[in-house]
């Protein structure tokens, strides 16, 4: 076994060397970054040299919006996706025809790993569009030869009717939407055995074991965590096997490392804890070298009972930055602050509260200062509405806004605790 793993890591090294050369030759910014680090492509001889490479961050990708990091002529690009919920400058990710095919292959593998075959009926209730979830699973399921029902997200009653009438066996959506489906099924006095579901592939937001139990019971299926990032391709980077003890990441497509908050590599021979860092090995349109995900987890090459030799990452336990994932949308507290600061008299004291009822809820408490307070209820209500509207425009998420008295938001040690995430124990 150990020998096999060594072989895999060796071939990862070979792909890395190739990819570094490819990136140097085709992406001027990568070349510049490597030069600044005193590196030439020949300095990367194998996996053991990966630590020499500079990191790539989300800021790098945004800085080069939209086409700055594309390694191929634009003619060869057949698709773009973009990350959700970001403001101003989004992260645009290009795909060549081959990138699309390989991405479909990764999702096919994920579906196979959870036991799906060409005989299955796969309902894709992830959003279709710029978001990678819908099309990623769609192509994977089609490549598997399964029958795909591309419902996309929303319209819950229709989703349930299709689940029931068309005897869907495999459901793909966000975990919170799966939970919502199960709650609606329950409240409509439908029974789980009216459904034919066997398994669900749930991702794009963090979820817990408790939530897994609730979804599994509510929908009568086995729930699997799927991992992915737009910057790496989308869903399909990692998948849980039936052991439910970590997510296998495809070693022929990605190198995964862990680092500490100062950027020091914490994994030794591929085993470690910290922020996950990914390097793609086969992407053409936009390879990424040492992309910092800000997701905190662990990695291991330890033998898995399922027999797959691909290394596992743990479920994401947190973030190394302050980004929140709310209903699959990336939300930075700074975006909310920006909206509040634009409004006169608002913004000094606010609090962001995230909770999960069935779906995630984002609530902003704003202190009403003397400056914005008026004697008119309707003016206060329109202020609330205005804040909601602007936040929606910024985040594409509906947000609850609550006006509170001055001094009601706690200021421990004189500084307000801006974000309270109550979903931790869900």
């Amino acid at each position: 076994m150990q020998k096999k793993i060594e072989e895999i890591r060796k071939s990862q090294g070979k792909l890395l060397v190739k990819n570094v050369k490819y990136s140097w030759d085709n992406i001027p910014y990568y070349k510049q970054k490597m030069k600044e680090a005193g590196l030439k492509p020949e300095d990367i001889k194998g996996l053991e040299d990966i630590h020499k490479l500079p990191f790539l961050s989300k800021a790098d990708l945004r800085y080069h919006y939209p086409y700055g990091l594309i390694a191929t002529p634009l003619d060869n690009v057949v698709r773009f996706h973009s990350s959700s919920g970001t403001t101003g400058i989004p992260t645009v990710v290009p795909y060549t025809k081959r990138d699309i095919e390989l991405w479909a292959e990764l999702n096919k593998r994920c579906l196979e790993t959870v036991g799906a075959t060409h005989k299955d009926i796969v309902q894709v209730s992830y959003g279709y569009g710029l978001f990678t979830g819908g099309l990623g699973l769609h192509y994977g399921a089609e490549r598997l030869g399964a029958a795909v029902i591309p419902t996309s997200s929303g319209n819950t009653m229709r989703q349930i009717k299709i689940l029931k009438d068309m005897k869907t066996t495999t459901l793909a959506c966000t975990p919170s939407y799966a939970l919502m489906l199960s709650e609606v099924i329950k409240s409509n006095e439908m029974k789980v055995d009216e459904l034919s579901l066997k398994r669900g592939v749930f991702g794009a937001e963090p979820w817990s074991e408790n939530m897994r139990k609730r979804i599994e019971k509510g929908l009568g299926l086995e729930a699997f965590d799927i991992y992915g990032l737009t910057e790496l391709c989308g869903p399909g980077v990692g998948i849980e096997c039936s052991e439910h003890n970590g997510l296998h990441t495809w070693s022929d497509h990605f190198i995964v490392e862990t680092i500490d908050k100062d950027g020091n590599k914490t994994d030794v021979d591929g085993e470690g804890k910290g922020e996950l860092v990914f390097t793609t090995l086969q992407r053409e349109a936009m390879p990424v070298l040492r992309y910092r995900t800000k997701d905190l987890s662990w990695i291991t090459w330890e033998e898995c009972a399922c027999g797959l030799l691909h290394p596992r990452i743990g479920r994401i336990t947190g973030r190394s930055d302050d980004m929140l994932i709310v209903r699959g949308v990336n939300v930075f507290p700074s975006q909310i602050e920006e909206v509040l600061m634009e409004l006169k008299g608002v913004g000094d004291h606010y609090q962001i509260i995230v909770d999960r009822d069935i779906l995630d809820k984002l609530m902003i408490k704003v202190e009403v200062t003397n400056e914005i307070f008026s004697d008119s209820i309707s003016e206060l209500i329109s202020l609330e509405k205005e804040i909601k509207k602007r936040l929606f425009e910024m985040l594409s998420l509906s947000v609850d806004v609550e006006l509170v008295e001055p001094g009601q938001i706690p200021r421990p040690e004189g500084k307000a605790k801006r974000v309270i995430d109550l979903r931790k124990d869900m």
Partner: protein
């Protein structure tokens, strides 16, 4: 014209008590009060016998408030008098944004507090109809 203080408060148990105690324990008498709720928050409108002191107390307590002018009308405490006043204003195309009324120590008299769209015009039309306008209550 009467001076009124509006205070923003959270809509939760105890807040009105706390507000009233800030005022009352410092010897300021609340002559009239209206509490309005709008979901998560509420609004208290009040007229005190010492608005200067009351606003200082509110300021010290760190509350959000605003002073404003409203119309105070002395009317007979009998059926139909409030309707009469509203009709006079309506005929002059003046809109009443809100109003609250209470009875007084003066026998058979009640006081009506009005927030109107045009304060000066209201005073004129009411005075010319023989309605008594109050300067304080």
């Amino acid at each position: 014209m009467v001076e009124q203080i509006s205070v923003f408060i959270d809509n939760r148990p105890g807040r009105l008590a706390e507000l009233c105690n800030i005022i009352g324990k410092n010897g300021v008498d609340i002559r009239a009060l209206q509490l309005v709720e709008a979901g998560e928050f509420g609004l208290v409108r009040m007229i005190t016998d010492n608005n200067e002191k009351a606003t200082k107390l509110l300021k010290d307590a760190g509350m959000s408030f605003r002073k404003g002018e409203v119309l105070g009308v002395l009317m007979d405490d009998r059926p139909g008098s409030m309707g009469l006043i509203a009709s006079i204003l309506s005929e002059a195309s003046i809109n009443i944004e809100y109003a609250y009324a209470f009875i007084t120590k003066i026998e058979k008299k009640a006081i009506l507090i009005l927030k109107v769209s045009d304060l000066k015009k209201s005073i004129d039309v009411l005075k010319s109809s023989g309605v008594s306008i109050l300067e304080n209550i």
